[in-house]
Amino acid sequence: MITSTTSPRIGRALATALAALALWPCAVSIAGEVVDFEPRVRPCYACHGDQGRATPDGYYPRIAGKPAGYLFEQLLHFRDGRRVHDEMSYLVDRQRDDTLRRMAEHFAALDLPHPPPAVLNTDATTLEHGARLVREGDAARELPACTACHGESMTGIEPAVPGLLGLPQDYLAAQFGAWREGARRAREPDCMAQIARRLEPADISALSAWLASQPVPSHARAQAGPVRQPPMRCGVLENAR
């Protein structure tokens, strides 16, 4: 029988091909063709740093190593106007969903060392306040602990919750501001927008300062998910793609 003699060979060839693909995380297939995405994301390095590893002392957020679902969601937000940044939106404006998903997967698969955290001269009381909010929240104001969704080690939870470490202080503060003003939106119900509106300006400075000054554990990855019992409803956790 022909199949019995050829199929193991085909199987082995297939296995080798698959193994090769696994070793080459940026090669993905679009419309049946294998496409290397590294050259396709080079324009991103202009702002997000080499391979998306941005440093904490600028404004641009790191994108390397964040959960793919989260990154994909953000690219859709910029393209479709739920997050606002003109130059960022311009680049993804006329791209198809599958391409943006591949870009997200490309960056998610990277495991690059983190630089040491920014050195800030924030006073100890402020930092303590930030740390407490992150770990415990504030029940009186219906503020859940950030770790409930972002993970005990704050490195995020697959597939849609990003880590909070290694981000610039200004960037963090700007995100809470954008959520409060409606310039950043996630899927409804938008839990982060509700949380941001419950924060006082002093909370925002404390959270941004504390988070930006924490070292990132080496090989930090988002922990396996999904978030088991989110303390609030988040659209993105309900229909994680």
Binding site: A31, P39, R40, R42, P43, A46, G81, E87, R94, T99
Partner: protein, 432 residues
């Protein structure tokens, strides 16, 4: 009667005559096209008028202008920058209060064909009724049926922000007298059906000339005699009738179709507003319509005049700006575009040597490419395009001018250098 008085009277009579003429020409309503000469039927195989209207709206890219990012489609609000100020497109969903819900199909026809609102007020020609006027009544009705089928969106129109005197809508009466006649599409009997189909699509629905033809100081298209492109949305849309502009007569039929459908061809790719035209409109057209457009574009008479006059390649030794340009090119650009501007085959980075987009008289497109970067549009034929990085944060205006001066003057290119103020000018305004 004393002489001065007679002069005065003469002047008054003359002025009255001119005003009457302008008013007559500017206010007249041209007899609507009765459909005596049938226009090429686009998407004739779609029998449902709403679905056919949806296709025609794609071909005319109504959605592109009438939707703001992140808002409901067709609810308006998109900013359209022009030399006269910034326009805000209106809501054309069927909401009765804020959209066009109270319009009749005849009101809509007057807008599309004759550039007038239901109250007879003239519309600004930034709405390209100057081209849509060639669309016939049957297609207009299909477009209207489609717009009526959209979910109504309650969104008040925002006022345009125009400079004086352009904010005076009544002045459009004079503008229309001088520059606009409602028209119809005339089938050219000496051309085949395919050419006529392409002409109807390109001149009418596609309104390609709204961007690709030069306008005078009052925004009227003037390039009929002398092909020149137009500045639009801060980009330069070169003439489709200039082989050193956007003319494609010397390309193969397949390459022209590829450019329109996929946004890239072997000869060049689309950027900025043209990338939007491909993404929103052209990539969705049926093969026979693309083929007809390509045939029409390839048959356009061609001339030259878009490339900057060749400047003698002076000796650049000791020219500090040139040297800085060369070394910054090597540092920032050569990786992708090649040491000698030859580009790369795999992956396909465009050559800058001998590239007409780089040596054009108007340098705004290469300046915008370097400032803001960008990708060709993602289409079925080119789903994962390569992109150009933005340099607005890392390079100064002076550095960009020097690099482009070097690029425009090297490897056989011989266009004039660029001044840094030309780069500075491109740093403001919405991105397209």
């Amino acid at each position: 009667m004393s002489r001065p008085l007679r002069w005065l009277l003469g002047a008054v009579v003359l002025a009255a005559a001119v005003i009457a003429l302008i008013a007559w020409r500017g206010l007249r309503v041209d007899a609507p096209h009765d459909g005596a000469t049938p226009v090429p039927r686009i998407a004739a195989d779609i029998s449902d008028p709403v679905a056919r209207g949806a296709y025609l709206a794609r071909a005319a890219n109504c959605r592109g202008c009438h939707s703001a990012r992140g808002d409901e489609p067709y609810a308006g609000g998109r900013q359209i920058p022009t030399p006269f100020g910034t326009f805000r497109s209106p809501n054309i969903t069927p909401d009765p209060e804020t959209g066009i819900g109270k319009w009749s199909d005849t009101d809509f026809w007057h807008a599309l064909h004759d550039g007038r609102g239901p109250d007879g007020a003239p519309l600004y020609p930034v709405f390209p009724y100057t081209h849509y006027t060639r669309v016939d009544r049957q297609d207009s009705d299909a477009l209207f049926a489609y717009l009526r089928s959209l979910p109504p969106v309650d969104r008040k129109n925002r006022p345009h922000q125009l400079k004086f005197p352009y904010d005076q809508r009544w002045l459009l009466v004079a503008w229309r007298a001088l520059f606009f006649r409602a028209g119809t599409f005339e089938v050219q009997a000496d051309r085949d059906a395919n050419w006529n189909r392409g002409a109807y699509l390109t001149q009418g629905l596609g309104h390609c000339g709204a961007c690709h033809e030069a306008r005078n100081a009052l925004g009227a298209i003037v390039s009929d005699e002398d092909p020149a492109g137009g500045v639009v949305l801060d980009w330069y849309a070169p003439s489709l009738r200039a082989s050193d502009g956007a003319g494609v007569a010397h390309w193969s039929h397949e390459q022209v179709v590829a450019l329109l459908r996929d946004g890239v061809s072997a000869h060049g790719s689309t950027m900025g507003p043209m990338a939007e035209v491909v993404y929103e409109s052209l990539q969705h057209l049926h093969a026979e319509d693309l083929s007809a457009m390509a045939a029409y574009l390839r048959a356009l008479p061609q001339s030259e005049g878009e490339s900057a006059p060749r400047v003698a390649s002076a000796a650049h030794e000791g020219d500090k700006a040139w040297e800085r340009g060369a070394s910054n090119y090597a540092k920032h650009c050569a990786d992708c575009h090649g040491d000698r501007g030859e580009g790369k085959e795999d992956p396909g980075y465009p050559a800058l040597a001998g590239n007409r987009a780089v040596t054009m008289r108007s340098p705004v497109n290469p300046i915008r490419a370097v400032l803001y970067g960008g990708y060709a549009p993602g289409t079925a034929g080119n789903p994962a395009p390569l992109g150009m990085p933005p340099y607005h944060a890392t390079l100064s205006d002076q550095e960009i001018a020097e690099i482009l001066g070097y690029v425009r003057g090297s490897w056989g290119n011989a266009a004039r250098p660029i001044a840094s103020f030309e780069v500075t000018r491109q740093r403001t305004g919405p991105l397209w």
